[in-house]
């Protein structure tokens, strides 16, 4: 499957990926509405860690044998066997944080949900959960520090 890889050599800590991610995962898909008006506030699923000299975008690797799916106690975190995309169902998530503690990449975060805090993670910008779209963080990166490429393992 195609996966997003982050290249720390070229990450410049601009966080345009975070902006694009938040906008894509908003209701309006409009940056001004997404950042200033929408409630509940849309969440970005990619996040840049580090500083100006060394930074990297932390993003889900959509592992072939995902620990988050293995550890999920509510069946919210699933991996689509056809596409390999790992997504979290906000309706089922109980916010137990098992996925957060199991993820080797720190790619799952717990943020405010409609009723209680729930897990948020990259869904490869699919319109339908489990079906990859065209990742907006990759398109927004000005320095090709995020690449979306075919990789080994399903």
């Amino acid at each position: 499957m195609k996966r997003i890889y982050a290249l720390e050599d070229w990450c410049i800590d601009c966080k345009r990926c975070e902006v694009a991610c938040k906008v894509f995962h908003s209701k309006s898909k409009d940056p001004v509405k997404a950042f200033l008006f929408e409630q509940p506030r849309p969440r970005n699923r990619v996040r840049v860690e580090g500083n100006r000299t060394l930074s990297i975008a932390i993003n889900c690797r959509h592992c072939p044998a995902p620990k988050c799916v293995e550890g999920c106690i509510s069946g919210a975190m699933t991996r689509n066997p056809e596409t390999g995309v790992v997504t979290s169902n906000p309706e089922k998530c109980v916010g137990c944080r098992t996925c957060v503690s199991l993820c080797p990449f720190g790619a799952v975060t717990i943020e405010e949900g409609p009723r209680h805090p729930i897990a948020f993670k990259c869904d490869l910008c699919g319109e339908v959960p489990g079906v990859p779209g065209s990742p907006s963080c990759v398109a927004a990166c000005p320095n090709r520090a995020l690449i979306y490429v075919e990789s080994e393992g399903n």
């Binding site: 990450c11 410049i12 601009c14 966080k15 940056p31 001004v32 000299t53 090709r144």
Partner: protein, 501 residues
């Protein structure tokens, strides 16, 4: 002391569009923008803005634009705001004013007064999409007579070494130190792909770029930084830099803070020391001395590669060029006053030198008059802005052109003329690791290659329109040019007729 210097620019932020994401703050090495969470708005320190436009390009909502500082001047056409600000700056610092890039003053741009010809009825134009067009040129000295063994269909004597350029342009000298390694690498990668050459400038050849050495021209300048037999041996050609269009008559000064470990190793000087290139070569005080250096370099490299000599376009450039040809230079490079620089005293940049168009025409004519034009190659440099400028330069007599500002603009440069601060937000004219990494050479090389491909298509279109199918047939073909808005003297020096003639 109270600072009398006014800001030059003002940040215009559209409050309706700003989402306070902080991309501008993180993009600015001059620390202009600040997301003030307490106030819930983004503020700007306008005085620090240099108008590099990085924030404008990076802003995800296009909420930013940079405008001039709205202060009116005194109302005097003599004491303009700029003139008075320069005085205020010098009154405060007591220092020489520094500037970067080429002469920005409104001197005439002669390219814009030269129009190209096209075929109509009496001779056919050529469609470059249907018929072959040759953009390849060779640079080097030519023998006066070509002796051919007609029976074997071979040359009786070997030709002097030639540089093969698939497109009639090369990337002019920019040293590692004045520009970042990523910028130089991008040009090296582009030169390889385009079948042309990049020039290392006076900064030596970084070991990471040795893989591109066959498309490099290395410079031997007055500081002799980075020069050793290996440096001379691995490259395509050697260039002796006598002068630079942006700052004729003076040397160079790369301050110690830009001499990082890598720059130090490449230049072969101690880390942190100033790299000072003297104004003259201390072993060149005459054409005869130049001849000695030319032949020392040829001797050192077994007469296997051409030696170029680069001079700034100055008042008697034609006579100088004639001397250079006689001193054994295979390629003569003339650099006009609009050519760029990483740093130059502003008064020198703005007031010294002459336009490349006039210098090129004068040099070509002088060499022709002395019947030595065919023995050397002539390269024009100093702000070639488009494919049309290349066509005009070739028609005025150049074999090829050197181009640097335009490829830098392709890399992201917005001509803010603040290279000397070392804080280039585009990762070009800086050695700061956090800024250098902003320029991914892979993307940068693609952009330069795209630019040159575009230009090459346009050159073919323009030549085709004239009914010419090879750059070789356009060279020195001044009948393809007509002047507009020029006086008799200008036409005479340019060697072109007025439009309508």
């Amino acid at each position: 002391m109270l600072d009398y210097v006014l800001p030059r620019y003002r940040v215009l932020r559209d409050g309706d569009l700003c989402i306070q994401c902080g991309v501008c703050e993180r993009s600015c090495s001059n620390e202009v923008h600040h997301v003030d969470e307490e106030l819930g708005r983004v503020t700007a320190n306008n005085g620090a803005c240099v108008n590099c436009q990085r924030c404008v390009v990076m802003c995800p909502t296009q909420a930013l634009a940079i405008t001039r500082w709205p202060q009116v001047d005194s109302g005097s056409a003599n004491w303009t705001l700029e003139t008075m600000q320069d005085i205020a700056k010098q009154a405060q610092t007591g220092a020489v004013l520094l500037g970067s890039m080429g002469n920005p003053k409104p001197f005439p741009v002669y390219w814009d007064h030269l129009l190209l010809n096209a075929s109509q009825v009496t001779n056919p134009s050529i469609d470059p999409l249907r018929e072959p067009m040759e953009t390849r040129v060779f640079l080097g000295s030519r023998p006066e007579i070509l002796k051919v063994n007609e029976r074997d269909e071979k040359l009786s004597a070997p030709l002097p070494p030639q540089l093969r350029l698939d497109v009639p342009l090369m990337f002019s000298a920019m040293s590692f130190g004045s520009i970042s390694l990523n910028a130089q690498k991008a040009l090296a990668m582009a030169a390889r792909e385009l079948g042309t050459f990049f020039n290392t400038g006076e900064g030596g050849l970084h070991r990471d770029l040795e893989q591109y050495a066959d498309c490099a021209i290395v410079q031997v300048a007055s500081g002799r930084f980075g020069v050793d037999p290996h440096y001379l041996g691995v490259t395509g050609a050697i260039e002796i830099k006598i002068g630079q269009g942006a700052k004729p008559g003076i040397g160079g000064h790369l301050p110690g803070e830009k001499i990082s470990a890598e720059v130090s190793r490449t230049r072969m000087i101690p880390q942190g020391t100033d790299a000072i290139s003297p104004a003259p070569h201390h072993d060149i005080y005459s054409i005869e001395d130049l001849r000695q250096l030319v032949f020392s370099l040829k001797e050192a490299t077994g007469y296997a590669k051409p030696v170029a000599v680069k001079v700034a376009a100055v008042h008697n450039v034609a006579a100088i060029a004639s001397g250079m040809a006689r001193a054994g230079a295979d390629i003569i490079v003339v650099d006009g006053f609009r050519g760029g620089t990483g740093a130059a005293p502003r008064r020198i940049r703005d007031n010294v030198g002459i336009p490349i168009e006039l210098a090129l025409a004068a040099v070509d004519q002088r060499l022709r008059d002395e019947s030595i034009r065919s023995t050397v190659s002539l390269v024009a440099a100093g702000s070639i802005r488009s494919s049309a400028d290349i066509v005009r330069a070739i028609a005025l007599g150049a074999d090829a052109v050197y181009c640097a500002s335009a490829p830098l603009i392709a890399l992201g440069c917005h001509q803010c003329q603040d290279c000397s601060s070392g804080k280039c937000n585009w990762g070009i004219a800086t050695q700061r690791p956090d800024l250098v990494r902003r320029l991914n050479p892979e993307i940068a090389a693609e952009r330069v290659v795209n630019l040159v491909h575009g230009w090459t298509h346009e050159i073919k279109e323009m030549m085709g329109g004239m009914g010419i199918n090879a750059v070789d047939s356009l060279r020195g073909n001044r009948l393809m040019l007509r002047g507009v808005g020029l006086n008799e003297k200008e036409l005479e020096i340019l060697g072109v007729k007025y439009a309508g003639e």
